[in-house]
Subunit: 412 residues, 2 copies
């Protein structure tokens, strides 16, 4: 998973809790935030694209599906001031769309419920990490990304899965006990919490017991059980597939880490298409209370849109977490680091090139989404495309405003 | 993948061809073959189950869909002599269904075409390995598993994919240059031949070029391109998902190999549900020229049937390749070996217990398939269930008759 980790509880890996970090709410609001300083792609900037993306007024106003059906007034959010200035600075030159602040009442309620789930119900985090869990702001993240969720229960589906995905990444792959050694086994056994084992009577109990044996599996199992209460069978199959992709991505990254190998740029981008946010935007319909039919989801044009959107959001993570990852021990691969190494560029030039790669992916995503909306103007397709676009925008908002985790390099 | 490997061509790993092995056709027919000495599960042995499985006369007689619609005469293939005695002995006590010899004309034509594809078109194997390629009998395998394929072209879809899957397993995972080190990277990059990269104009050409750079990727890319000519978008999505599972399974097995770890029996069975034949039976509808709708494929009951069938076929592989794997260097995990180690049983008792595990999986598969057929008697569901069952039987036939690769231990 992209890097926005919080330290989880691992029954098998006890350790002292880290020092608390200030909650995001304590960071002063920076009203000088520049907005979208990049040049929009003229080929992808039509009215249809804006309809897909929705007006910048989405968010608290976009909570009901009916609102999505009203044609939004033409707007150019990429050149307008955001309605509510967010904390943190966006990356200069980054092509993105600002969003209004997510509904504070929803954020508060989701934050309250997710803490209860993570601490008490699924036991993903110990109570003493409460402050840090708050600082992660996963409630704000998911409310920003799913403005059309009909209820808090729907938002909770996405929020639990996001926390579970992070727990697996943290405990198995990254700093909190993770390692490339044995990762293939850990991830597969955790994957059976999503995609169950079908075996004989004798061996089933030990497997079922294993799903409670550490924080990642408890989190996956519980979050998946809630997801299955609302998702259709095809939506569940889609999610399992996307999580299989994610786990393959982790394992490719781990293979390189184990041998200190720095891949070619295209190889890194291929890995990052799998180690990717994709499982998060692709549940937008379940969280929105509707279904993109399986046959439409599987269309190559839709698969391409989803992949491009996922890739853009994931490179956003590489860019915002760049300085944080530079500070961590060893070489942490991200797009600027790989470009610098493989193309012989300075850190600054490599970073700026990575911004361009991101912008290209965003423009491609928007152009392909607009083309698909024209070719297949089915309401669920249009709503799904808009849901993915809103997720992309909410994801950028969360990264930009996470000033307690992320800071920008001094390249401008 | 289960072990039925042939040495492929790797442009990056040249080496002398191995000594030729006798083709299967030279092995004398053993007419004393015992048939299904196990006790059928009384709960799963009803008429409906037999309808699902079809009469033992399937095979050349089952080439046309219309034939499937005729209710077969009640038969007990598990207690009858096979219509055509196969080479090789089945494992005593194994619950299985004999099949008639696959249509020799089809076998001959598929064998001819697959060699042309593998040697000349996709360059998976060098011409000097022709004899060994013939000995693998992949044409006979696929004709046995897909008796309802309407044309040779349909059979070729399955045959190319089977050869490609074996090339990846051989070159990346197993003896022919494979290693657990770096496997996560190799498998992910090969997976992009099935599930394409969506990236920027600058980096796309290097990725496209990579798909021609070794035998596994050439094989995946070409076999997938043919598959996509016939498969629907949802069938392609299903196949990608199953291949993602397969690659996760390879990586779990590699994680254990790297640390010489012998897993618990249930862990081994979980890994084997992923490192599994599953991608082969689940294309039965594409190869049969029809489609199991995505929403029906995703139903939990169907997913369970598919998983149980895949698990039974895969344990068949563990049992038939047992003596071969014992002879290979290092510890090659298979179910008897893991049971012996983890449950403190003798080699013989562990092997016999593994046979029971297989039989339990088969009975569960058949009982669940029969229940699903009752609950959802849609023609495509019934045909798909029968296609999976026929694949299971064809797979057993291929293992039993592969006397040039497999021999039974001396436990009876």
């Amino acid at each position: 998973m992209p890097d926005h980790r919080i330290p989880p509880l691992q029954s098998s890996l006890p350790g002292p809790p880290p020092a608390p970090v200030p909650a995001t709410g304590t960071v002063p609001v920076d009203m000088s935030v520049p907005v979208d300083t990049s040049v929009p792609d003229p080929g992808a900037g039509g009215a249809l694209e804006r309809i897909l993306r929705g007006p910048s007024g989405l968010g608290t106003e976009g909570l009901h599906f009916a609102r999505y059906e009203k044609p939004p007034a033409p707007s150019e959010p990429e050149t307008a001031e955001p309605e509510t200035a967010a904390e943190g600075n966006p990356i200069p030159g980054l092509y993105y769309h600002p969003i209004p602040e997510p509904d504070p009442a929803r954020v508060e309620e989701v934050s309250r419920r997710i803490k209860a789930w993570a601490v008490d119900e699924a036991q993903v985090y110990p109570p003493e990490w409460e402050d840090q869990f708050d600082g992660f702001s996963v409630g704000r993240y998911m409310v920003a990304c799913h403005p059309d969720a009909p209820t808090i229960d729907h938002l909770m589906i996405a929020t639990r899965l996001m926390v579970a995905e992070n727990a697996v990444d943290d405990c198995y792959c990254e700093d909190h006990g993770g390692s490339p050694i044995g990762l293939g086994s850990r991830l597969l056994l955790a994957h059976t919490a999503l995609d169950p084992l079908h075996t004989t009577e004798e061996y089933e109990p030990a497997w079922l017991e294993s799903l409670q044996s550490d924080a990642p599996r408890r989190a996956y199992r519980s979050a998946m059980a809630y997801f299955l209460e609302t998702a259709t069978a095809s939506q569940a199959d889609r999610y399992r597939h996307d999580m299989g992709r994610l786990h393959l991505g982790y394992l490719a990254e781990a293979a390189w880490a184990q041998t200190d190998h720095i891949p070619e740029v295209w190889e890194y981008l291929a890995m990052r298409q799998f180690n990717n946010f994709r499982p998060c935007p692709t549940i937008t319909d379940t969280v929105g209370g509707y279904e993109l039919p399986a046959d439409l989801h599987a269309q190559p044009a839709m698969q391409r849109v989803i992949a491009l959107a996922g890739n853009a959001t994931t490179i956003v993570n590489d860019l915002y977490s760049y300085t944080k990852e530079l500070k961590s021990p060893g070489t942490h691969l991200n797009l600027p680091v790989v470009i610098a190494e493989r193309e012989g560029l300075s850190e600054k030039d490599a970073y700026l090139k990575a911004v361009e790669v991101h912008n290209d992916l965003m423009h491609r995503f928007e152009a392909e989404a607009a083309a698909l909306a024209t070719d297949c103007p089915v309401p669920t397709v249009l709503r799904f495309l808009r849901g993915v676009a809103v997720w992309v925008d909410g994801n950028h908002y969360w990264h930009q405003t996470n000033t307690y985790r992320y800071s920008l390099p001094d390249f401008w």
